[in-house]
């Protein structure tokens, strides 16, 4: 660990001496290898298995689910489990509630966070360091620790069992993350572009609007999709805050399957597929862009 601070500008091993250099091209790290490919595909299979098993179970008829000799390929696919899941009470209302809560959370946090990200990434101001420290600090607070005070806050405000209350609690974990990620995306836009625009007579605000905004647009999309997913997937806050069944969100609806005696795996897996579907669609659109947002600037120096 300690030696790793050696500046990477001195390539490791340069002290090994010229004699060793003759063994060059022994194995340069570049080329793809068949062994790695096979190993990687095996890893992919292992990682994918739980998801595959979920989808497969969802399409199996009941007799094929409750069996001691499971089949690993779809032999007689059926939609019965999906019909069962969709027929349970409150499915559509919970999807609607999830959409309302999620979209409101995304809209508010994205607007507020974009403004803040511009300031943090581009402008010097008093308290900037303090602000950054605060954003980092609040991201470290585990959500579990915040359930009690958030619940009591809403309880005092008479907003338990209300979707507005849930949006407020979701902002608590979506907003800091959104500010931080957008900061990364804004920081990745070369400042020279704005400088040029300002030399040409743009004001600071105009430069933000005409130069930074279009360039950050993909980052805004990525961040909003990720915020969407976080809010859509959240369970425990919604479970604590919402008591009436017609107000529950889709994750709470899903959890109501398991609490009944003896889980019905077929409908539960079908419901799981339905819950995951919008998120998976979004995520595949995003690809790996979120990761680069979080650590933007970490390697670029």
């Amino acid at each position: 660990m300690r030696t790793s601070t050696t500046a990477p500008t001195t390539p490791a091993g340069s002290a090994l001496g010229p004699a060793r250099r003759r063994r060059r091209r022994r194995r340069l790290s570049g080329g793809p290898s068949t062994v790695a490919t096979v190993a990687g595909l095996l890893v992919a299979a292992v990682m994918a298995f739980p998801v595959y098993w979920m989808v497969l179970t969802a399409f199996k008829p009941g007799v094929d689910i409750l069996t001691y000799s499971p089949r690993f390929l779809p032999t007689s696919p059926t939609l019965a489990n999906f019909r069962d899941a969709l027929g349970r009470p409150n499915f559509w209302s919970s999807v609607g509630n999830s959409l309302v809560v999620t979209l409101a959370t995304v809209a508010i946090s994205l607007l507020v966070a974009f403004l803040a990200a511009l300031a943090v990434a581009r402008l010097p101001f008093h308290g900037r360091s303090g602000y950054i420290v605060m954003i980092i600090f609040v991201q470290m607070i585990p959500l579990t620790a915040m359930i009690i005070p958030l619940y009591l806050l809403l309880n005092n405000a008479g907003q338990t069992d209300s979707l507005i209350g849930v949006v407020v609690t979701y902002l608590a974990f979506v907003l800091p993350f959104t500010i931080w990620t957008l900061r990364g995306f804004v920081a990745n836009v070369p400042a020279d572009l704005e400088e040029a625009a300002m030399v040409d007579g743009c004001t600071r605000v105009e430069a933000f609007r005409r130069i930074v905004f279009p360039l950050v647009a993909p980052g805004l999309v990525a961040t909003s999709v990720y915020a969407f997913i976080q809010a859509w997937n959240e369970y425990i806050l919604a479970y604590v805050m919402l008591s009436s069944p017609e107000k529950q969100t889709v994750t709470v609806w899903l959890a109501s399957f398991t609490t009944q005696k003896g889980t019905e795996w077929g409908p539960l897996m079908a419901a799981s597929c339905l819950t995951a579907l919008p998120v998976v669609a979004f995520f595949l659109m995003l690809q790996g862009r979120m990761a680069s947002g979080l650590t933007a600037g970490a390697v670029k120096g």
Binding site: T37, I65, M198, A276, G288, A291
Partner: protein, 330 residues
Amino acid sequence: MASLDTGPTTGPLGGPVTGQSAGRPARPPTSIRPSRRLSPLPYLLVGPSVLLLVVVLGYPMARLVVISLQRYRLRELIRGSGEFVGLDNYRAVLGDPFFLSVVLRTVVFTAVAVTLTIVLSTAMAMLMRRMHGWARIVLQSVLVLVWAMPALVSIAVWQWLFDFDFGVANWALSSLGLDSFDRHNWFADPKQGFVVITGLVVWAALPFVVITLYAGITQVPKELEEAATVDGASGWLVFRHVTFPILRPIYVIVASLSVIWDFGVFQQVYVMLNGKPSKDYYLIGVYSFIESFGVNDYGKGSAIAVLMVLMLLAASVVYIRQMIRLGDVR
């Protein structure tokens, strides 16, 4: 700690790494300084977020600390205000050997889960680099798919995989000749239960860490590693002395985030055990939640939550320093 000091002129990585800054002379992080230092613009931009954060986080955090100093049960909940009892809640929590056992369990769980996550994802990220393009896309898509799974869906699926009667895990193990796994209850023994829970947590955490590490690895200049290889360094030495130091900031971030997430694990235990985990399954987050919403002792639950945040803070000093550097450099 001292190892983080990379000197005043270098970047967060301790040296110029990519070509981005190579051609240009170093310049201060914010190159355009407004002529008037006290422009109102940044404050207008930051204002709304500060206001909102104070309402949704600042106030609740303060409230958490206040309640942890109060007697706050069902009666106080209905009345809406508690009664100050000083440090009684903390005394009750810290004086209880059960709390220490919960903390210990949480620390062990976190250490195991984070180590597994980091080691496995490093291996996977390095593997991805050597894979053929099409296969890499397959693996990446699988990772994204797993990443997208809502936590609750993952829990349901893993419950099903490890089901007592018809779970495929029991079927596979007993097919391998391990008869004891025929109709095996994984959750009867907390040790085995935590194997399943750790598996789920690591499985769900891997995609983010692998994708982040891989994104970092692709930014490591090939020439550096090639130079080291030419000089005779083996794969492990190249990783240890070239790749890892460059990726160090990313490692700090993903490791710290993993610690934060795993230390706060709640749903994977609470929901996996259908909302009634036995005391042998309590992690600190579960303990805090059940003390509050199960036992209705919000004061004690808050004290546990405050202690949890303090422990995390102490553990995350390195992370905070890394992130502040990241935020400041640009």
